[in-house]
Symmetry: C2
Subunit: 234 residues, 2 copies
């Protein structure tokens, strides 16, 4: 039985489009009808996740629940959250629905072990995500010890995520910021870079610097295709 | 009052993603919350429109109605159809709902007159679309006389749309097919090329040949942003 996907999106919208395109591009399909049925609620009004986790900002769960209910009404068989930081709220959301929500952080950690055995991953994400320790735990469950960016590096990541990608500004002028960030982490022992904010694959793809990178959005797309009973493109 | 968009998509899925990204890229937005709420039903099971129009294929309206109902349940304030050929069925769909469905063919014809005054447009689309005469009528309402590809040219367009873009095959090997198609139409009087199948802007963007082109998907995105009370990016 083939299943459909619901994408609880808008966090941010370009990251949602990135996930949607990755699912389409990775599905074995010769015709429109070979593609998975996908429902998207691209809801930019979901309150900022890092602000909620760290600075007493508005709880995003009520607005996420509204989007979740829309996906349920459409008939989604599983739900994807294209925002790593939002995974902090996954247990609360999952408690509200019987529709399974795929956990991108666990999927990415498992794939990191499979694809980069023995390599130490650096977790590139928002301050909110890193404060939760979500990826450190997911990696530990896979037997991996990860490197967390320091405060200055987190500041640079927040700049790239919020002031550049989310603000739809040109990325090319930030190439040196990105390059030196990766170099600094590499010097401290990083052997693979986890693009653990869904805005970062867009940046990494545009700036084309050396990784290696692991892209949780791509791994979530892959898992969703298989979960729904479709085949990956060869 | 800011409004939301529903995209009745999947015809094909990549064209739906193209429209979604164009809306995001063309909206004046510095933060996630500056973006329009967008609901998408990406439904690849909608029967082929050209097959229904020309060859007695299954009527797509029942499946399109199912997707329309999903967008209504989400609360969409207007509906977009990112498939030019599907506009043949717009009057039947509009009769089923009070939610306005924006007419991409009329929007594109008006913009063709505004952006390329006095130039003769060639309509590049599917055999189904061209058989309906939809664009010829929309252009005539704007006082424009258009050029319709001949049978051989329509065959080449169907190849590019179905065997290349919809089949997710590399487009680069088709550069000569595309170039000579445009040259032939130019020799017969075309002065601007209307990319009147939503798969064609993807092809035109990848192959980067001289136009000028008018992209109905982009014009639909522009109109939708303004209709919803948002501003265009400067």
């Amino acid at each position: 039985m083939k299943k459909s996907i619901g994408i609880l999106g808008g966090m941010g919208p370009m990251a949602t489009a990135d996930l949607y395109i990755k699912i389409l591009a990775m599905t074995r399909a010769d015709r429109d009808c070979d593609h998975i049925r996908i429902y998207i609620d691209s809801d930019g009004q979901i309150p900022d996740r890092t602000a909620a986790i760290l600075y007493g900002g508005e709880d995003p769960v009520p607005e996420m629940t509204c989007a979740l209910r829309n996906l349920e009404k459409c008939g989604a068989d599983c739900v994807l959250l294209p925002c790593n930081t939002a995974h902090c709220f996954l247990p609360r959301l999952q408690a509200l629905t019987d529709t399974p929500i795929l956990d991108m952080t666990r999927i990415a950690a498992r794939r990191c072990r499979e694809l980069f055995p023995g390599r130490r991953p650096a977790i590139l994400g928002t301050r909110g995500l890193l404060a939760t320790g979500l990826y450190a735990r997911a990696m530990a469950e896979e037997g991996l010890d990860c490197l967390i960016p320091n405060d200055e590096e987190q500041g640079r990541l927040m700049h790239l995520i919020y002031d550049v990608v989310k603000a739809s500004l040109p990325m090319e002028p930030e190439k040196e910021t990105w390059r030196s960030l990766l170099e600094g982490l590499r010097a401290r022992g990083a052997e693979v870079f986890l693009l653990a904010c869904t805005e970062l694959p867009i940046l990494a793809n545009t700036l084309e610097l050396d990784g290696p990178f692991l892209d949780p959005t791509e791994e979530l797309a892959r898992e969703a295709i298989l979960t729904c009973g479709y085949e990956l493109k060869g």
